[in-house]
Amino acid sequence: MHIPDGYLAPAVSLALAVPTIPVWAVATQKVKKVLNNRTVPLLAIFSALSFTVMMFNVPVPGGTTAHAVGGTLIAVVLGPWAAAIAVSVALILQALFFGDGGVLAIFANCLNMAIILPFVGYGTYRLVAAGSPILSTRRAVAAGIGAYVGITVAALAVGIELGIEPVLFSQNGHALYSPYGLREAIPAMLLAHAFGASIVEGLVTGLGVAYLQRRHPEYLTSLRRIFAPEAAADGVVARRPLWQLVAASVGAAAAALAVVGLVEGGGDPGRMFGSDWARVDWAAVATMLLVTAVVGLILIPVVYLVLPARMKRIGTAFAAVAVVAPLGLVAPGFAYGEGSTAEVQSAFGYVPSGMRDVSGVFSAPLAGYNLPLPFFNEANAPLWHAALGYELAGIVGMLVVGGAVFAIATLLRRGFSNDAGTGGAADRRSEGTVA
């Protein structure tokens, strides 16, 4: 996530100082006011700690390793203002002395990793912890979630900073700086972090807070009061009910989707995600939603009652997914990007020859994820017919796949129970353990 020199245009690098420098100034004042002269050694030593933590390789499930930043962990202990200074100092040291991250890019790197990361992480932590007792498991989980969200948002910021370069600075058709636009840079940064580095950051922070709760609880209480007296949260009861959390996350997800959709659609609200929403027949959609809701209300409880206890939860979840699936039909153009050759033709203007050759070879029995009956897939059938077909096709598909997996698993179990080597099996189990 360290941006080197040369990736950002100097105008962008220096413009990012505008939000960064005031935050540093306020942070210095805040920390100084509380700690007086004690600030200097404490911040210096925590910066050194932050640097050391960034050096640690953490084993990740799946056999690889990754680094953590530790910004949220420091924010949980010292408060976000002190964390901003500690991580900034570590980053400046890395850039000036160890050549990790650019010199002109210092403002960008500090904004992403030392300001956005700890503040978003700490805010999320406070939101999820919701005043629960300081030594509760909820606090540790909240810290983990906060760290995950914080670093993912920081990665989004890096994606935006890199992505605007070719938009702003190009010459004779070639990009002068980082060559990828927003549509490439944002998904690349977001996906790489959301499924990799962010998980590590979340794990390290959550486990780190759990360790402090067990061994050094005083750092989570008395010290927080020294650094941020107004935020000292001993907490006794969870004051914020779960529904507020759910509502907040749904709201945040909707906002994120809206931003991504606007970027995809080139900033035109009528063309969110690059689709022409004016082509949608909203009356038909309303009928379809009504039918879907009725189906869901009947089907999901039935599934829950019918399934054996062992499969109740997972089976109901799958049934719910199948019921919700046809919502994708609303989107005009591609449904789920699994377009047929005709759709590819209309989108790109041509069909790759390989795709045309292959697509005729096998015509699936449930082509287009619909049942092969005129009621469901007639050209001018109402939308809710297609939706019903979608749901039925989904359920049939799940039953078929589930049955196949069950059959294979049964066969395999029979095969394995014949040989006595249980050591191998135990070993395999320990390999799969994920803390």
Binding site: P4, A44, I45, L49, N57, P59, L73, G102, G173, S178
Partner: protein, 291 residues
């Protein structure tokens, strides 16, 4: 999250590959070695080492800014030749200087831009069809990629040259001369001081574990251990900061920091800044007039 972040799995250490512990120990040791190497060169008697650090830092910033502003490969070439000449005059080992930059940069920056070469629209350099796949680099894309990689390489070269010819203490005092607040400089200085203590401690903890563990541990165990180590380091950090503060108080620290500076900028130092400015202007201008 540095570029060398992910490679080899810890659990596979038993089949002869490098595990996460060794990886961390290696990374920490490399950092300490780098620091020792740098400080040794920063104190040797080269041309750049004798210049006034304040003007040297300013010149370095000017050169990096010029590399960012230059829009032609020729301009960047001018800057790089200048950097090489100064490096040679300052007795920076040539192999180290060139290798460090050119082995690392094409690897990290180059991999990033390779796909862009093929996706940029415009005339193609050549077009090799392998079945349905066409290997056709765009001329514009290629130009952009070369410019991008050379820009990153020149920026890194200047930064490396600045760092290996200036002791850290001087870099900090120059920051003070550039009006960076005193608190920040003081925190940076102390961080650098305690950084090595922490790296040393962390290395000790890791080696102690390495030498006592026989057999394999699960991923969950490893993660619990590594976060426990981080928590342990944090607790040491608290204790140490208390001790350091007491020591500072005992020596009369009252919140004010006084440093003495005996720098004197001679005509050679000003000449360095002037020539950097001239090269920078040339490097930026070449691109703007050539196109």
């Amino acid at each position: 999250m540095t570029a060398a972040a992910r490679n080899i799995g810890g659990r596979r250490a038993h089949d002869g590959r490098i595990g996460w512990l060794e990886q961390t120990v290696g990374g920490i040791t490399a950092n300490i070695e780098h620091a020792i190497f740098t400080e040794r060169h920063a104190r040797s008697a080269g041309w750049l080492q004798r210049r006034d650090p304040r003007l040297k830092v300013v010149s370095g910033l000017v050169a990096i800014l010029a590399a960012s502003l230059a829009t032609s490969v020729v301009g960047l070439g001018v800057l790089y030749v200048g950097t090489l000449a100064v490096a040679a005059a300052s007795r920076v080992p040539f192999g180290f200087f060139v290798k460090r930059v050119w082995l690392g940069i094409p690897f990290f920056a180059g991999i990033v831009v390779v796909p862009a070469i093929f996706f940029v629209p415009g005339p193609r350099l050549f077009d090799i069809g392998i079945g349905a796949v066409h290997l056709a680099p765009s001329i514009n894309g290629l130009f952009g990629a070369i410019l991008f990689v050379s820009r990153v390489a020149v920026s890194v070269s200047v930064a490396v040259l600045l760092v290996v010819t200036t002791p850290w203490a001087d870099v900090l005092k120059s920051l003070r001369a550039l009006r960076v607040p005193q608190v920040f400089v003081l925190v940076l200085a102390m961080t650098y001081r305690y950084l090595f203590l922490f790296l040393h401690t962390a290395n000790g903890i890791l080696l102690a574990r390495k030498s006592r563990v026989v057999g394999r541990s699960t991923g969950g165990e490893q993660r619990r251990w590594i976060t426990g180590t981080m928590g342990n380091l944090m607790s040491r950090a608290f204790k140490m900061s208390g001790d350091v503060y007491s020591a500072m108080l005992a020596r009369g620290f009252g919140g004010e920091v006084r440093t003495y500076s005996t720098y004197r900028a001679g005509w050679l130092d000003w000449a360095m800044l002037a020539s950097t400015l001239i090269v920078a202007v040339v490097a930026v201008a070449v691109g703007n007039f050539a196109s």
